[in-house]
Amino acid sequence: MYSVCLRFSRSRHEAEEILQEGFIKVFVSLHKYRDEGSFEGWVRKIMINTALQRYRSRSALHAVVSLELTQHHPSSDKEEILANLSAKELLRMVQELPPVYRMVFNLYVFEGYQHKEIASLLNISEGTSKSNLHDARRWLKEKITRETSVDNLKKLYL
């Protein structure tokens, strides 16, 4: 569950808060759990809802996204570069996504939600959800490319 929280949050500290808040809800609502699905799935859903609730309540604090900061970098041996990227680094990249992109990307890629459901959860339109997912993917690709390029350059010159 902590990994789930990490993906939905900007930092470890925030992930801990979500985990804590989510588990309190689990304990408080334990009597509401019915054996209709796996317990893990029920807890996971609570965690995701907690993260989304937090996102919604703090949406005012989210920075406006600017994709212009990212630039294309020439890629070298991408397969090798990708192999060098650890799960932690990929997790960090997800965390660095702008909040609305992070939410859409997590819900779509990891949780398997459809755009219609995502739109409903985040109070946005379906088109916005698709657009945000597209932007998130592009943002991540560029991030990977840039970081691997820097790593390669470091390897080459150091």
């Binding site: 902590y2 990994s3 309190i24 997790l91 609305v100």
Partner: protein
Amino acid sequence: MKKNLQDIDKVFKDALDDHLEPVPAGVWDALNNDLDKKQAFHYRKKYYRTKRLALLLLLLVFSGIAYQLFVAAPGKTNTGVVQTQLPAALQKNGQDVSLPVKKPATAKELVTTETAPDAGNAAVRKGDIVAAETTAATEKKSSNQAKIELTEKKAANTINPTVARTLQLNKPAAAMKAQRRDNTKRTQEQVASLQKNNTLQQTLSSGKANSKLDSKPSSKALTLATTDIGRDDLSAGAIISVNIKHTASQLHTANGKTNTAVIQPIRRLVSPIAAYQYQPPLYLSETTAVEVVAFTAMPSMLLLDNTAANSSLQKEKSPAETKQFPKHPISLMAFASPNHSFRRLENDNRLSGPVLNKKLAEQQEQQVASYSVGLLVNYGIGKKLILQSGLVFSSAKTNIAPKTIFARPDNSGRTKYEFNCSSGSSFLSPKTGTVPAVGDSIHVMGSSSTLTYIGVPLSLNYVWKKGKFLIKPGIGLSVNFLTSGKSATSFGASVGHQKETASINGLKTAYVDGSLGLGAEFMLNQRFSVGLRPLLRMALTAVNRDTPIRTYQNYVSLETGIKINL
């Protein structure tokens, strides 16, 4: 790899789906603490409700006790005396005979009298207190029977009320002045004698008392007890307070006839206390012992004659007087009051956060102007209780410090700036020329929220009358219906100093508060009164729901108004 990058979803899913991160140990400790806090909050909340309920019950119990003590009890106390009726035959052709003060009174002979104020005038007005003469034969029989009955019943039926009486003397001032010292001395001796014998029962059950009763041919003796009467008081009247030690069984003879002296109802009361304790008509028998405990000339109190009477006198009052104190008065009261409003804030566990919480709201918000106006209907449900209801319009305004607000989608999906305050939230769309995106921010210069309610109070007031003043402590409940909840927000120079008003979301349509007040009224005349009432209104339920903060709106009011008796 290029293919990998094109399928970026898979790259991340494969890498992170099974990725596990160890949870820091501190998280579990914090979780434990948080759970404890939640539990504590739950119990505290539960305790709040219990406290409110206990307070309400306590007030009700106090009201009940007060009612029993001050409304129901006095009537019961004097019942034994009041209910004793005498045959009309004992009066001479419906006329009373007054007896002058002529000899020292014995315990059984001492009664109070009221005669015409004219000096030397032996004629007695209706309502004067007299002693009726009875035949010696009847007297003897009854005295013997009284002896038997009293011996049997003794103290069981003893009633010992304190009654205040007004006396007017029928002797010239000069004569009374001369006799004053003698009377004072005599009265003191009588009191001492009575105290020595303790009670009438003891006196009558003794052989000495019996012999007195037997040997006495008539119960006509009537003695006025006086102590100290001022010169002016002789014509104006004076007050005497007496203790009557009375046994009901004394009033009946063996053959069923009453053997008593008849004392006409005393009509003139001079103080609220006297009025309160008075139970007309009062008949005193020859076997009634009257103990003079106080006698004070109080001419100034005579002025209160007409205002000090209580409802027990209504039967004897003239219709005009009775109208002044109707049994079940209905009256209307219009009032206005400035309020000092204050709130109790509680965090909502689910929704409160860094954007808005109790601490932040207390720092940013300050309640300013508040007022109430209303029309209340009073309905008397007893001698001393009034039920009050009506309509009260209340308004409370809160100033909010400048802050930055952010854009987010509203319920309809349109992105607007959300303005949060302790009452709730409202969505604003200043004319900036562009539609805000989620997360956009704008600075708010000054803002305020105004809540208005129409309340329907229901309160129970106890009435304590003091001359022309009425003191009315009371408790009650009020259901307040929301009429308007709006926020007025001023934007900064960035959007050209705009001011926008919007409805506040999250307010409940009604909330309940409890009230505690102490009203004071001054009767201008029979129809109009002016009143002042400090009132505390404490909210029992929050004014909002599903908001980061639950707000309980309280008031301290000073209601000022005018009352019209219908």
